[in-house]
């Protein structure tokens, strides 16, 4: 690492992501599988309509946090969640770099 500041950032990212992934591994097995607020309310109020009648407009690679093709050796939600954590991290950092203010003369921030 070039500077202490970069080391700090890398450490923060490493710890932060590890903590998040740790949460995914530890907490996912014990989360509630009950329907969430919106799902519950729509179950009750839509009566004749069933949720499956609504077809999503796009095809997703990991619908509902499952991984098609992976045998249920362990909870696919955990793997899907971990993949998602990295994807979200990567894309948001990328967007951050795209959007950040450009300095005319590059100085160390």
């Amino acid at each position: 690492m070039n500077t202490p500041r970069m080391k700090n950032k890398a450490l923060f990212i490493a710890f932060g992501l590890s903590a998040v992934i740790g949460l995914v591994v530890l907490i996912l097995p014990i989360v509630s599988k009950k329907p969430d607020g919106l799902e519950k309310v729509s179950e009750h109020t839509m009566g004749f309509l069933k949720k499956d009648d609504f077809k999503p407009t796009t095809k997703a690679p990991m619908p509902d946090y499952t991984i098609p093709g992976l045998k249920q050796k362990f909870d696919t939600r955990q793997l899907a969640g971990i993949i998602g954590v990295f994807v979200v991290f990567g894309i948001s950092v990328f967007i951050g770099y795209l959007l950040k203010r450009k300095r005319r003369n590059s100085r160390i921030n």
Binding site: V24, T57, G81, G84, V85, V87, G96, L99
Partner: protein, 211 residues
């Protein structure tokens, strides 16, 4: 609270899409002025945390569960416009990769969770802190910010659904509001927990210029 495709009337989802697009555009301009290298690690880690935390449903009684939303937490740390950008990123990935929330409903979902959640969370926290002393103030403010952001988001969500005609407003408005008043307690606690952790390990991150 992720609305799937097909729940919203065409006029509503197009309208919400336009409103959200406008806010996102403004948010990118604001970020362009203020976002620096210092913000980026927090940007990424908070986005990752919010994504993960949204998977952790907790029961709130009545056979229902809720999950953390994150708009208030992110806006308290990084500012409301940053919250819009981060929540949008998370929501789009959830939608396209995991089919969590409909593509057409993105505008409404971004509005409810990113824009309303972010702005209300940010300003509610500031407002509460005007009346409280420094350290306790952040925790009281962020708890109330977290709680109220969930409730207002749920209210907006139920109005969109009610106006779409698919569910009667007189039923879903109270139902969503009451359920999310309970979920909001969880949001408040998690918001405070993350902030108190950061206050202890990296207090400098709380001093970043807000976007």
């Amino acid at each position: 609270m992720h609305i799937p495709d097909g729940f919203l009337d065409t006029k509503i989802w197009i309208g919400m899409g336009c409103i959200s697009a406008a806010f996102i555009f403004i948010a990118t301009r604001k970020a362009n002025k203020t976002l620096s290298d210092k913000h980026i690690p927090l940007f990424g880690v908070m986005a990752a945390f919010v994504f993960a935390a949204q998977m952790f449903n907790f029961p709130v009684g009545g056979g229902t569960s809720g999950h953390f939303m994150g708009g208030a937490l992110i806006s308290i740390l990084l500012g409301p416009w940053a919250s819009i950008l981060i929540m949008t990123t998370v929501l789009i990935i959830q939608c396209l990769v995991f089919q969590d929330g409909g593509v057409t409903a993105l505008g409404a979902n971004i509005f409810n969770m990113g824009i309303v959640g972010g702005f209300l969370g940010y300003y509610m926290n500031l407002f509460i802190q005007m009346f409280t002393k420094s350290k306790k103030g952040l925790f009281i403010g962020s708890f109330i910010a977290g709680w109220s952001s969930i409730v207002l988001s749920a209210i907006c969500c139920s109005i969109e659904l009610g106006l779409s005609g698919i569910m009667p407003l007189r039923i879903i408005f109270p139902a969503m509001t009451i359920i999310h008043a309970l979920i909001g307690i969880g949001e408040g606690f998690i918001t405070v927990a993350v902030l108190s952790l950061l206050t202890r390990v990296r207090p400098d991150l709380l001093q970043l210029q807000k976007i």
